[in-house]
Amino acid sequence: MASKRIGIESSLGIAEAVKLANVDVIAAYPITPQTHIVEGLAEMVANGDLDAEYIPVESEHSAMSACLGASAVGARTFTSTASQGLILMHEVLMVAASLRLPIVMVVANRALSGPLNIWGDHSDAMIIRDTGWIQIFVENGQQAFDQVLCAFRIAENRDVMLPTIVHIDGFHATHVIEPIYILDKKTVSEFLPPYVHPNPLDPDNPVTMGCFAAPNLYTETRKALDQAVRNSRNIIDETWQSFGTLTGRHYLPIEEYKTDDCDTLLVTMGSFSENAMIAVDRMQKAGKMVGLVRLRLWRPFPTEDVLRAISGAKNVIVLDRHVSLGGPGPVCSEIKAALYPLEKRPQVVGIIGGLGGRDISPENFVSLVELGLEKIKTGQTGEMIMFGVRE
């Protein structure tokens, strides 16, 4: 394995990974809310550094539609979007999953209107939760680079054949220049076998894709798709193991940080986990036994791993960077649902924060944990708790 350490914006690091994956087709809508990911790729294609079709379409709905067609003929296909762009794609995301097309997409997680706000949070990711895409969250540019390569290998595996999203926090991660180890071409081509669609669109062997299913068949198609998403877990594990062996960078569906002997655990997802780690270091130094559990794999939801990580704790504080208006935070409600069958459960409190680009600094995380523990102590865990709101 050979790699080169360079200083590069995370978005452009992602573009490097896509180039190394030797994609055939990129379809994207290049205007806000877009990132430098597709801008970088457009430049590579235009300069002849990447031999791929770059399709600049008129909307994100069209971008994903173009990706469907490309992936269906057997082309390795990539796109990227965020925020309003992602929800404009929403309809076609469902189709991509049901057609089992292994498109890889990077979503630079950002807020949704209104009011108009394209700064970072997880609103866009949560809205598309149920689309049937494998969804992986990363915390920094290196993880994004690594997971894009893993995403192609997972998605295109014959036993998986599912579209895959790598979620990276908008601005807090995408727009940051940081050191990234860029793998060499040979290593990547050995790690990533070519994509072969088992029944591609082919004029010589015509097939029909996307036909309708009446009530007497639709349930079976959803069961088959759900099972495919669940079964993808085996290949995800295997891919991350191989990648770890190859690079020394190991990934797990649930990653624990200093959780030994901790009776209080904080659960986070995405780039703010790095701030939370600093907070954990400080709290533990001050003698407070608070550990961190980071959710990396969002779909398929790693229920067993979540239980292993948190069921022994006394207090669990879950951060959601999305408001399910009028309902519980989505990550917290899934954590609670996972815990429900247990006879002895930790106290769980959900906290909403980090919305629309608002920071949760390491200091803030210390306060957030204090707030969570206070709510548990006073038995007020059921209410909607928003962190850092002026009142």
């Binding site: 049901s98 054949m161 029944n199 062997n205 097939v207 007497n216 198609t221 495919a228």
Partner: protein, 293 residues
């Protein structure tokens, strides 16, 4: 009858008005102060394809059921051809009522059925053609329903028919009345000469059997889809009048009319839906549409 829900299943073809029959029945029942539902079987709506519509009628309590009807008390068949094509009596309760539009006699028709049911037969097609000028029997068959079951009253149909058909309400009402007068009632029983017909049952895949992405690999498999089942009439050519112009071939929307070696044209009955466009377009009136037996 009190508290019981009476369930009706209507069999027709797309365009024949089975849904209208069910709607008018429900409106009439509601007009009488009863509780009723009318609903279609939701799906792709295609003229000529077998379709279903349903009613629930209850005398003194609201109907809460929101599911399909599988064990009807009454089955009404608008299209005579459906009797041999699909199992119209599927799930019909013992002692239930079967009402069929047919030119065939009761004695002849009961050969097709195997069960203890009341059978009502009327040649609704002739009545509709005579009084309404079209072969659409939805309102006409309401008369047969009233005669066979008494579930609704004739008077209750006035308002719904008026609302639906305006100036044509009167002739529809007359067709309905005449159908009631001409409906022949009899009782049929199981056994005897009657044999249970076997109808094709679609084999549905288990989820494990679905191909990845539900891809259909058999290109052109619509060739095995017998749209010819949809027709209630078929074209017949009088070769003496035919000038071999091919206008029927050009206009056939199904593309099922072909020129033979002798230069005359014929339709492939496996695909012909009986739309009658060829007969309409033929310059020399060489094509006539003949009712299916």
């Amino acid at each position: 009858m009190k508290n019981e829900i009476i369930e009706i299943r209507w069999h027709g073809r797309g365009g024949q008005g089975a849904v209208t029959s069910a709607e008018l029945t429900a409106m009439a029942a509601i007009h009488e102060g009863k509780f009723a539902q009318a609903f279609p079987s939701f799906g792709p709506e295609r003229r000529g394809a077998p379709v279903l519509a349903f009613n629930r009628i209850r005398y003194d309590r609201p109907v809460r059921e929101r599911s399909g009807i599988t064990l009807p008390d009454v089955v009404v068949v608008l299209d005579p051809g459906l009797v041999t094509l699909i199992d119209v009596t599927e799930g019909l309760k013992p002692g239930g009522t079967l009402i069929v539009n047919s030119t065939r006699s009761v004695e002849d028709l009961q050969q097709n059925f195997d069960g203890d049911w009341k059978l009502a037969v009327v040649d609704a097609g002739s009545i509709a053609r005579k009084l309404l000028g079209v072969n659409i029997v939805n309102t006409t068959m309401l008369g047969a329903l009233i005669k066979a079951t008494g579930l609704i009253k004739f008077e209750s149909l006035h308002e719904p028919l008026e609302e639906r058909f305006g100036a044509r309400a009167k002739s529809n009402f007359e067709a309905c009345k005449l159908a009631a007068e001409n409906t022949v009632l009899s009782q049929i029983t199981t056994g005897g000469l009657k044999t249970r017909r076997s109808f094709a049952v679609e084999k549905l895949a288990k989820w494990q059997e679905l191909p990845i992405g539900c891809v259909v690999k058999e290109a052109g498999n619509t060739r095995s889809f017998c749209t010819g089942d949809w027709k209630s009439q078929h074209p017949e050519w009088d070769d003496k009048k035919c000038i071999k112009c091919g206008i029927c071939y050009i206009y056939c929307p199904e593309g099922c009319i072909k020129q033979q070696k002798d230069g005359f044209f014929r339709a492939d009955m496996f695909f012909c839906k009986g739309c009658g466009i060829c007969a309409q377009e033929c310059w020399t009136q060489a094509i006539s549409m003949v009712e299916e037996a």
